[in-house]
């Protein structure tokens, strides 16, 4: 049988296709993004889209489920915070066609602002949860999740982690099961979430969970691997793989795939078969706490800890006291933090803000969060998507009391973030009259997550042309009286716009617009900036823009031609005009 090397995300996409899923929606977010990116290839039988945010994706997919289709939505872990509202009530209503919610968690925060453990959501929302442990299971579990969802009338949380979503392992493919749409019927008592219906639906939900737990005690998603009676390990997801390698060969395993509700009878039976029981899980003691509460003695978290990813060597060290064999570098190695790319349009804006210490900057999550790092160092906060405008509002209101010398707070976020959850903040600023300037850094793409389209780009996930929503028209319709549209790479225009907005007495917004250089298929005219060493006085002012192409040798600036794209931000900064631009063919 042919084996394909697939990432977990590719396998989930394939699983959606094979399971007969017809409607999929998502908002991008590492490590979940490639699930939807791999779906347009099936567009003849499966509709896929980028939603403006995760709540929209979850609701849209749920609507498809009510209408009788199998559906899936996907998001990164923090996306589920945004989508939580519809999912908690969907649990009470139950489903029509299968309804799968994929959450991709990020232990160790490779690309995230926190490492929250989304398994708690399954318990809190009272929905089923499956956790695959490799790419083959990613594919197979989508099918299993569809069956569970329809059989137990319940949404299914499909939980991966970075190492499940982004690891590749061999997968054997199957055929697509054509599932015909369940005929739509008006079921007011089921799908209209009003108190009286919810009161009737809650006991049904509890009953479904009881049936599901009984199913978990016998189903093939949960399996015992008996190798001995000395040590037993209960594990799921990637932690199972780590434990398989870290524990001695005679260790028995209870490998769980259906992890909410936990199959407590099965766990109790397994516990009775071994002398010593471990629960090995990344992040929180989600399983261990429940297992202990059921009166079953076990260990785990005390040794493995609640922080960051695990790996086999770490488990051996923490459980068996084995010291890892590697030797650390003799001298510390200089760090290599990520930085705004050479030619990034965000650079001009943050360089400008760095020259204005009297203005506060409430930032947000996107490539532009890198404006907080040295040497730009031009950001006072970044919390979550959409927070750029609204955190700014709170800062501004508090500062009004303090007699602070800060003139205004600039709330900063990107185009994708504006459509995600920035628009409500723009309304808040206007409605409650804050001393806040909303700034949209419009690079015409969702950059951070690898260049996905959004409602402002004029294209859909499936590659079709779409309405291109104008950010400035939205702001205008809200009632912003001055909307300054400016090229952030033109430092003097950018500086003027910032000054004008800071002094303005009417509601004013800034749209700093220049497309990202890395948008696929975008043709860029290659040009290059060069330093004339005769003119350079070595003042290092150009270095303050934090461009990776600029370095200093022998007290002179130099520009790496392999990296420079000729954006001229450094040339505009240079006080002695030592930097000039040349076009290349």
């Amino acid at each position: 049988m042919k084996r394909y090397l697939m990432s977990g995300n590719e396998a989930i996409a394939r699983g959606a296709y094979e399971a007969g899923i017809q409607v999929c929606s998502a908002y991008p977010g590492t490590p979940s993004t490639e699930i939807l990116e791999n779906l347009p290839q099936y567009r003849d039988v499966l509709y896929s889209e980028w939603a403006p945010n995760e709540k929209v994706a979850a609701e849209m997919a749920y609507g498809a489920s009510i209408a009788g289709a199998r559906s899936l939505c996907a998001m990164k872990h923090v996306g589920l915070n945004v989508a939580a509202d519809p999912i908690f009530s969907a649990a009470y209503n139950g489903v029509g066609g299968a309804y799968i919610v994929v959450t991709a968690d990020d232990p160790s925060m490779h690309s995230s602002q926190n490492e929250q453990d989304n398994r708690h959501y399954a318990r809190a929302a009272k929905i089923a949860m499956v956790e695959p442990s490799d790419s083959q299971e990613c594919l197979d579990f989508v099918k299993a999740a569809c069956w569970i969802s329809e059989e137990f009338d319940i949404p299914v949380l499909f939980r991966t982690t970075t190492r499940i979503s982004h690891s590749k392992s061999p997968v054997v493919l199957g055929e697509r099961e054509e599932v015909s749409l369940r005929p739509f019927q008006r079921k007011t008592g089921k799908y209209v979430a009003i108190p009286a219906n919810a009161a009737r639906n809650h006991p049904k939900l509890e009953e479904n969970l009881r049936r599901l737990e009984a199913y978990g005690n016998t189903c093939s998603l949960n399996r015992m691997e008996i190798h001995g009676s000395r040590i037993g390990v209960i594990a799921a997801s990637t932690a199972y793989q780590y434990a398989r390698e870290a524990f001695p060969a005679d260790t028995s395993f209870l490998k769980l795939g259906l992890t909410n509700p936990l199959p407590m009878d099965l766990i109790r039976r397994f516990a009775g078969m071994v002398e010593e029981l471990y629960v090995i899980e990344e992040l929180d003691d989600f399983m261990e706490q429940q297992i202990r509460a059921a009166g079953i003695a076990c260990k785990g978290k005390e040794q493995t800890g609640k922080l960051y990813e695990l790996n086999p060597q770490l488990l051996r060290q923490r459980i068996f006291g084995e010291e890892p064999g590697g030797c650390a570098p003799e001298e510390p190695v200089p760090s290599r933090p990520p930085a705004l790319c050479p030619g990034c349009p965000h650079r001009g804006f943050f360089y400008t803000m760095a020259q204005h210490p009297d203005l506060l900057v409430s930032g947000d999550i996107g490539c532009y969060t890198l404006g907080a790092s040295e040497p730009l160092n031009a950001m006072d906060s970044a919390l979550c998507m959409g927070g750029g405008f609204t955190v700014a509002m709170g800062m501004a209101k508090a500062l009004e009391f303090s007699g602070s010398p800060h003139r205004k707070v600039f709330g900063v976020l990107g185009d994708s973030t504006f459509f995600h959850s920035g628009m409500t903040g723009a309304a808040e600023i206007l409605y409650n009259q804050g001393q806040v300037v909303p700034v949209i850094l419009d690079n015409s793409i969702t950059g951070m997550t690898g260049h996905q389209d959004n409602p402002g780009t004029g294209r859909t996930l499936q590659g079709d042309m779409a309405a291109k929503i104008s950010i400035e028209k939205v702001l205008e319709a809200y009632g912003y009286e001055k909307i300054l549209v400016v090229d952030p790479q033109d430092l003097s225009a950018m500086g003027q716009a910032v000054e004008e907005a800071a002094d303005s007495t009417v509601p004013t917004a800034i749209v700093a617009r220049r497309p990202c250089l890395l948008i696929p298929g975008r043709k860029i005219q290659k040009s290059l900036c060069q330093v004339d060493p005769q003119v350079c006085i070595g003042c290092r002012k150009c270095g303050k823009a934090g461009c990776p192409a600029i370095s200093f040798r022998d007290k002179k600036a130099q520009i790496d031609p392999a990296q420079c794209v000729g954006c001229t931000v450094c040339a505009q900064i240079c006080p002695v005009h030592a930097i000039s631009k040349e076009d290349c063919e």
Binding site: R3, L5, T30, P31, T33, H110, S111, D134, T162, R163, H166, S167, K168, S169, P170, T238, Q241, Y242, R244, E245, E309, N311, P312, Q313, L314, Q317, P324, G325, G326, C327, A328, P329, E330, E331, V333, P334, S335, R336, P337, P338, A339, L340, C341, C367, L370, E374, P375, M448, T449, G450, R540, G543, G546, P548, I550, S551, F552
Partner: protein
């Protein structure tokens, strides 16, 4: 065979992912169980990146911890040292001689640690490959990643396996000849070192 592990490290945008893609495809074609783990997202903006590849009869973990890699393939010199503690006591480092200064170095806050491989050499066999020069001599600096891939295969004593099919199935056909030559040049560079 026990499960083997290699760590490919470099700077975001250097082509570590293509190299590991060819490598894992070759291992899969040869019938091994394979797992590979890469990190996407924020780190790709010029940060330090790493890909883990593991293969054997049955591979469980896609990830290894310190002291467990049979080989570290570094696309940049200083990155080899950053990840050196991942090497097993008898692990080998294959390192490109390329030096790419990071932001603190460019900003003049610290010098590039040019002699950084000396410390690594005291604990491990370390094969330095002038991958940039070799790629340039073949006519295209971009094939540097495949030069390094050839060097890795040779250092692992797997140079004679069928890598051609994997390269053919991974790189665009107009670059096939270049990449096949790059692979062999990488192997030869390691053989030269070993004598």
């Amino acid at each position: 065979m026990n499960t083997k592990s290699a760590l490919l490290v470099g700077v975001g945008g250097q082509g570590t992912i293509l190299a590991s893609r060819i490598f894992t495809q070759g291992l899969l074609d040869a019938g091994w169980d394979v797992k590979m783990s890469e990190v996407h997202g924020m780190a790709q903006r010029g940060g330090s990146v790493s890909t883990q590849v593991r293969w054997g009869r049955q591979v469980f973990s896609p990830l290894i911890g310190p002291g467990a890699a049979d080989l570290v393939l570094a696309f940049e010199k200083m990155e080899a040292v950053r990840y050196q503690e991942y090497l097993a006591p008898d692990g080998i480092a294959v390192v490109s001689s390329l030096e790419i200064p990071s932001a603190p170095i460019s900003a003049g806050l610290c010098p590039y640690p040019s002699g950084c491989l000396d410390g690594l050499r005291r604990h491990h066999r370390c094969i330095e490959v002038k991958a940039g020069e070799i790629a340039q001599s073949l006519g295209n600096r971009k094939c540097m990643n495949v030069v390094l891939l050839g060097a890795m295969a040779e250092a692992l004593d797997m140079g004679a396996m069928d890598w051609e099919t994997a390269i053919r199935n991974t790189v665009p056909s107009r670059f096939l000849e270049l990449n096949l030559a790059a692979f062999q040049a990488g192997r030869a560079a390691v053989r030269g070192e070993a004598v």
